[in-house]
Every structure is written in C-alpha cells, then in structure tokens.
Amino acid sequence: MTIVDAQAPDMPLVFVNDAFLKMTGYVRSEVLGRNCRFLQGPDTDAKASATLARGVSAGEAVSVDLLNYRKDGTPFWNALQISPVRNATGQIIYFIGSQVDVTARKAAETALEAAAEEQAKTAQQALADRTALLHEVDHRVKNNLQLITSLLVLQTRRTLDDTTRGALERMLSRVSAIATVHRRLFQSHDLERFDVATFVRDLIGDVSPERDEVAIRLDLERIDINAAQAAPLALVVNELVDNALKHGLPAGQPGHLRIRVRRLNGDYVIEVCDDGPGLPASGAFEPGFGLTITHLLAQQLRATLTFESGAPGLRVTMKIPVHG
C-alpha cells in the first residue's frame, strides 16, 4: 500500500508499507519523496500509464495493470488501484494506492493467448491443406473424365458399324453429362448445391448447334439441388433430351423441343417436351437401355416420372421432392 501527497509538487510518496517494499525490492528511504513513476520501465505500456495519469489529474479512482520494474531490474505485473482522499472542503489531499503482483496470472493469460493463436494457425493450415487436396482431387477427376471422353470419341471415330457406333455415341453422351456436372460442381462457391438450370443450358449448348433444324425453348427457373443428386439427375435429363432428339425429332426433321425447370408445390419439376410422333398408339413400347436407366435413376432420386402425350409429341415430367 502507498500514499502520495496530492498537493505537493509532482505528488511524492509519503507512505509505503512493508509489502510494497518487499514487492519492489527497495528500502523505504529510497522511495519516499519520489513520484511512483520510477517503477515504470522500457516495456511499460504507454497507454496504461496514460490511463493512470488521466485518472489522477481528473481526481478519479483508477484501476490498471501496469508492467513495473523492481530495483534489480526484473519486471513484474502490478495490478494497481488508486483512489483519491478528499478533505472537508472537497480538495484532494492524498491518493491511496494498492498494488498486487499479478505476474503469474499475466503469464498464464499470455500462454493461453499464444496457445489459441497456435491453434488458429494449425486450423488454418489444416483448412488450406484440405482445400489444396480438394483442388488436386477435383483436377484429377476432371482430367480423367476428359480422358474417358476422348477415348470414347476416338473409338467412335474408328467404328464403322452403325449399331456399335450408336451405342458408343449414347455412352459418350452419358459420360459427357457426368463430365458437365463435374465441370460445374467445383466452379460454384457452394460445393453442396448444384444449379440445374445452368446444367441444362450447358447440355443444350452442346447439342443445339448440331441440330439447328430443331427450335429449342428453355424455360429455366433457378433451382439448386443437393450435389449428391447431381449426377443421377444429369443422366436422366440427358436421356430424356437424347430420346427426344433421336426418336421424337430424328435428324433432318424440323421440330420443337422444350425444356422446363421449376419448383412447384414442394417438388422440383423438370419437363422435356417434343412435338414428334409421341408414344406408340398402344402405349406399350419396348424399353431400351436408356429408358431402363432413366427409371432406375428416377427411383434413386425418389422422383416420379410421367410419360404422356404432348398433343402432339411426347411430354416427360420428372418430379423430385424438394425435401426428399
């Protein structure tokens, strides 16, 4: 504990107790008559001592953690509290100070901060590593899909038999649909969602120049499905478009293709319509491989598929529950 004379020039210490002397390493005769700032040193925070000075000149009580120095030069943290003492007329005559050595607490706080910083750094590094790994894997997936696509195209080019060639082309279009999904998946910022409208635009962008006799109309609302559903959905849409262009609107024949994507009453609804010959009169038709996988994938998506007459042509509607 200390008492300073608030009225004397430069506010000297007029009383110190033994605990203060023990804490600071001075003897009483060395400190009485001096202003306490002799305890401050090179690493004392200027802001903390300014807070103290402001309080004193305003005549207020102040509480501040101050880095002080003992007589032998070793630093210690001083939790200092000072309060003014007034005389009968209200003038401040003394400041009473109480000092507690909180070096241990400060050290613990510093260690904790350092640990937190270290932890944050580790977490940041882990995130950076994860992102780099994700990019690497993404890059490999894309390159491998490109390789698979090129292999299929190269083999198609060398295949003269129409049936085999047709099968290879259908397979190429399926692989390309999956490739389009992958190209888009990591382009967006949200890796969890997949933008169906953009996919349809990409898909149609690939086929439309080769079929400029077909008038294509796209009615695309922005819907984002779960990324895990992206590949099966892309395959179904690809089959439906492929089917419309191969059977509904065979090459060289003008016609209309319309694709509509929207959200309606708790479902994502995807419609593919053509104005070709439509379903066979009996309604029964031989399910080819394309139709088989379309049904299987729709099942996987918990979607319902409806084939109906588009009067004229064929309208296929797929409804996927939003909260499937």
């Binding site: 490109q146 195209v153 382009q187 962008g205």
Partner: protein, 161 residues
C-alpha cells in the same frame, strides 16, 4: 477503311496443340481439322511448345496448364505471345488458378469439355480472327478474356458463364 475483306476462301488457320495427354491431343487434332483448320503440331511440354510456336508460327495455340514438365502452360503462353501474333486459348481443369489477365490468352475452356464445345469454340475463333470481329456471343463453355472480348466486340453482358 481497314475492314478485313470477306474473302471467299480465306487461308485455313493453323493450330498448335500443347497438351501432355496424348489421347486428348490426338482427339483435339481431329476437332481442329473438322473445324476447317490445320493441325500443324503437338507439344507435350513448355519447351517444345515455345520451339514449335517459333518454327510453325501458328495462328492459334491450344494450351493445357499442366504439361509434362509441370504447371508450365501459363509461362509457355507468355513466352509464345511475347513476339508472335498467335492467339492462345487455355484448356484446363483448373480455370480458377489462371492469372486474371489469362497471361494474354484470348480465353479459356474448362475441362472436361465436350467435342461440340471445342468445335464451336474453334469456329467462333476462326471467325474472330478472319473477320476481326465476333459473329455473336461466344459459345457456351468458352470464356473470353476482357481484352479479347473488347477487341472482338463481344458484349460483356451477353457472355455465357
């Protein structure tokens, strides 16, 4: 007026393919020829790319970012474009890693691409190079650099994403 003349039979454009996946390069060669261009050479690494560009003076250079000597495609494009009039087009699975200015390339096509998109892109580029201006918005899948979009008069808003 310095408007380029619409010649009935413009000289076919020459294309250099820089790609370390041989099968992709071979297939690209087919697409280049189908687009009415000449497939003049293939390079697997950046050194060969610069040398071939020097020797063949191609009109168009198709460049992958990852080549057999590492991620050297970007530097190869800078070197190739330094003192030649060629136009470079990146084809990469790492579109986001390309520098902002695309190293002076006219655009980028993301992998995996489809045959159709490459054919359309080449047709589009051929028109731009021969007429000095675009025939319309770039085909889907082809992202033009700001510089080239402006040069060929492509409305920025009409550019496909």
């Amino acid at each position: 007026m310095d408007r380029p003349l619409a010649t009935p039979n413009p000289r076919p454009l020459t294309v250099l393919i820089v790609e370390d996946e041989v099968l992709l390069a071979v297939e690209l060669g087919f697409l280049v020829r189908e687009a009415g261009c000449l497939d003049v050479g293939h390079a697997l690494d950046s050194k060969a790319a610069v040398q071939l560009a020097d020797r063949l003076q191609p009109d168009i250079v198709l460049v992958d970012v990852h080549l057999s000597d590492g991620p050297t495609g970007v530097d190869a494009v800078r070197k190739i474009l330094e003192d030649r009039k060629a136009v470079a087009l990146f084809m990469t699975a790492n579109v986001k890693r390309l520098p902002e200015d695309l190293a002076g390339a006219c655009g980028v096509i993301g992998k995996p691409y489809s045959d159709g998109s490459i054919r359309q892109a080449l047709t589009f580029l051929a028109h731009c190079l021969q007429a000095g201006t675009a025939s319309g918005p770039p085909p889907p899948g082809l992202n033009l650099s700001e510089t080239f979009a402006a040069r060929w008069g492509v409305d920025q808003l009409a550019r496909a994403g």
